[in-house]
């Protein structure tokens, strides 16, 4: 109870309505504490995006389009909030969306400020670039550096979506772009929309097309290799524990993949916890007896160097109760790239689909 209260206190300085409201009700829900942070984030973000969407573009479709206007040095970009005239030669770019870091790195963009805490040196060259001003972590951001960076373009998203309003106030001159996956939209299409839009913004259409092509290749391979019958279950491991990821848009990272490939869920049950999965017993997993397991290790990139860290493979495969599950018996387990929790970008999905396709083909 005190823990949740203090977390609430911490986060409330960071403007998190959901959490402070929750702390009133949370009596001893330590579990909620951890979840609440992100749930609140998500709720806030949804709020922000739906508000602005309603104001600006009532009937906007999820699909973004980028129209060329190269002569004037600007392009017209359609993002989640409407259409924007964006200079193709921005002087100072801030990127807060961890799902865009690697794409921008591939384009050779040098940001002026970014949340360095969301990066990991093994994945991102930005992480150790001292010329980039640090915006801190989403739970305790240092938004002063937004002002210091004097941006003319901000690529915002995911964990920083909650600060959209703050950004508009701190950088009134800047164009703020967000390309968050839209609900009910196809995962792959959304990844492509974002990559192509960013490609137009930085006049890197070719590099963007290359990323898209790589993704599409792996998507086609998975579609080809999946038999349309085998049952699949998504799991998330953290702190030595397993939780269930619901199929469909609400399941964290793995959920949308079910729709993309028409995977048959091993457990027909709607989950409720969007970002952290649902508490599930090994018995329920064993009963569902999935043919395939898709596993995301939330701690991998964060705790990997630590000796006592138990990787997802250990948690899942060494679980005695799961020994008779088809997926474990036949080794049909696909682990998401270890940095997935930090990246969730087009490159990460490409890698994930490549591994999935490899595994499916090998199992045939």
């Amino acid at each position: 109870m005190p823990i949740s209260a203090s977390t609430a206190q911490l986060s409330s300085t960071v403007r998190s309505r959901g959490l402070s409201a929750l702390s009133v009700g949370a009596i001893a829900a330590f579990a909620l504490t951890a979840c609440a942070g992100e749930d609140a984030d998500a709720a806030d973000a949804e709020q922000v995006s739906s508000d602005t969407q309603a104001e600006e573009t009532a009937g906007e479709t999820a699909e973004g389009s980028a129209e060329e206007g190269a002569e004037s040095g600007t392009v017209t970009i359609e993002d989640d909030h409407g259409t924007h005239e964006v200079s193709t030669d921005p002087q100072s770019v801030i990127v807060t969306d961890n799902r865009s870091f690697r794409t921008l790195e591939a384009f050779g963009v040098q940001p002026s400020a970014a949340p360095l805490g969301l990066m990991d040196a093994q994945t991102h060259s930005y992480a150790e670039d001292e010329s980039i001003l640090d915006l801190g972590m989403h739970r305790e951001p240092n938004l002063e550096n937004v002002v210091a960076a004097e941006p003319d373009l901000i690529i915002n998203g995911q964990r920083f979506q909650q600060y959209y309003q703050d950004l508009t106030e701190l950088a009134p001159e800047a164009t703020i772009l967000e390309f968050e996956p839209q609900e009910d939209a196809d995962l792959v299409e959304e990844l492509i929309r974002k990559t192509e839009s960013l490609g137009s913004v930085f006049a890197e259409e070719d590099a963007a097309a290359e990323l898209v092509e790589e993704l599409e290749t792996e998507v086609a391979r998975v579609q080809e290799a999946y038999d349309g019958e085998s049952t699949v279950m998504g799991l998330l491991t953290s702190g030595g524990d397993m939780s269930y990821v619901a199929p469909g848009p609400e399941g964290r990272a793995i959920g949308p993949v079910f729709d993309t490939f028409d995977l048959v869920p091993a457990l027909e049950q709607e989950g409720e916890n969007e970002s952290h999965g649902d508490d599930i017993s090994v018995e329920a997993i064993a009963t569902a007896n999935p043919d395939w397991l898709l596993v995301m290790d939330r701690d991998a990139r964060i705790s990997q160097e630590e000796e006592g860290y138990s990787p997802a493979a250990e948690i899942v495969e060494d679980s005695e109760a799961l020994q008779n599950v088809t997926a474990v018996e036949e080794g049909n387990i696909v682990y998401l790239p270890e940095n997935f929790y930090l990246t969730e970008d087009i490159q990460a999905y490409t890698e994930f689909f490549r591994d999935f396709a490899d595994a499916l083909e090998a199992a045939e």
Binding site: M1, P2, I3, A5, S6, T7, Q9, L10, A26, I27, A28, A29, F30, A31, L32, T33, A34, C35, G37, R139, E140, S238, G239, G240, D241, M242, Y244, L267, Q269, G271, E272, H276, D278, D279, I280, S281, V282, E283, A284, A286, T287, A288, R298, D299, I302, S303, E305, E306, E307, G308, Y309, S319, E320, A321, N324
Partner: protein
């Protein structure tokens, strides 16, 4: 300490929590094993059987019995050990502080255990479960000692001030814990560990829980000393009790039970508060004859809450800590209101 102790739970003059039940019942000496206790025992056993029978896997299938051994049995054992020990921890602390609203989650003991866990994780990332547990137990002990020392300096020991101090202390400690977790990217891990859930209690992950059995047995053996200590330092010293030693022993037992439970299961809020209070509500304040009841009621409460958590959202589970938190909060408020009604000094 004499075997026929019928001492009432100590109540300082300004603490009028004790309802009329005390005066009605405590005069009469109660035997340890009564038919009522047997009924209670049967009900508790029934609940445990229900716990063994509840789960997602078909036990009567080919490998059902094997699964039963890996998941149900360890879980039920953990329920018994956690329920009994945490309820008795509450009882011990209530005697030692002469306050009914005290138990590990209202004295900051669990928060200290959490700090111990995160410190071990931070300083020795490769630490084993045993090392983490040692950290939790050590910090829980230090924390409880600090709480007692703090309490001694507070002159106004009204029944509400004591838990308020504990909760405040706990809040300060947990903010440190949260800070360290935030800095080391362990906030989520901490949340999972502390959720108070038996979901992950399977074979190979609960064995440390057997340690609290020692605590439970020790409580039974030393019950009389706590009863005398419950009369207050002056009185206890007068009748020849080494008060400091008993205080030390009680603190150590509470620290072990809380630390182990926090490491294996997480936090079970209010359990130590609800159970002893409800038991003395019905039976008065005879510690020795109440002990088996506290034990049984602790097991029953935690089992019922876990059964609720397991079934209402099946195949998913709700952490038992959450269910206990809701139930516990209601009972806690109820006890406060009841105290006010009976003319207690809520100052």
């Amino acid at each position: 300490m004499s075997d026929h102790s019928t001492a009432t739970l100590g109540s300082p003059p300004d603490d009028a929590v004790d309802g009329p039940a005390v005066h009605r019942r405590s005069q009469r000496r109660q035997r340890l094993f009564t038919p009522a206790l047997l009924v209670g025992l049967l009900i508790t056993c029934g609940l445990l059987l229900l716990s063994l029978a509840t789960g997602q896997y078909e036990v009567f299938s080919e490998d059902g019995f094997w699964m039963f051994g890996i998941t149900r049995v360890p879980r039920t054992i953990a329920l018994v050990l956690a329920g009994a020990s945490m309820a008795m921890c509450g009882l011990i602390m209530q005697l030692l502080t002469q306050n009914r609203f005290v138990e590990p989650t209202t004295t900051g003991t669990t928060e200290w255990a959490g700090l111990g866990l995160i410190l071990v994780l931070w300083l020795f990332p490769g630490a084993s479960m045993l090392a983490r547990m040692s950290g939790a137990v050590t910090m829980a002990f230090i924390g409880t000692v600090i709480f007692f020392l703090f309490l001694q300096r507070v002159t106004l020991k009204s029944s509400l001030i004591v838990p308020i101090i504990g909760i405040m202390l706990g809040a300060v400690v947990s903010s440190f814990t949260t800070y360290i977790a935030l800095m080391t990217d362990h906030l989520q891990t901490l949340g999972i560990w502390f959720a108070g859930s038996f979901t992950r209690v399977v074979e190979g992950r609960y064995e440390l829980m057997w340690l609290v059995l020692v605590v439970t047995i020790l409580v039974f053996v030393t019950a009389d000393q706590f009863t005398v200590a419950g009369l207050g330092r002056d009185m206890a010293t007068n009748v020849g009790l080494n008060y400091t030693a008993v205080l030390f022993m009680g603190t150590a037992m509470v620290a072990v039970a809380t630390g182990v439970t926090a490491t294996v299961v997480g936090v079970l809020p209010f359990l130590g508060l609800i159970v002893p209070n409800v038991v003395s509500l019905f039976r008065g304040d005879d510690l020795r004859s109440n002990l088996p009841w506290v034990c049984l009621a602790g097991i029953a409460t935690v089992t019922v809450c876990d059964l609720i958590g397991r079934t209402i959202r099946a195949p998913f589970e709700i952490p038992v800590g959450l269910v206990l938190g809701v139930v516990g909060a209601v009972v806690f408020v109820g006890l406060l209101l009841r105290q006010r009604k009976s003319g207690g000094l809520v100052t």
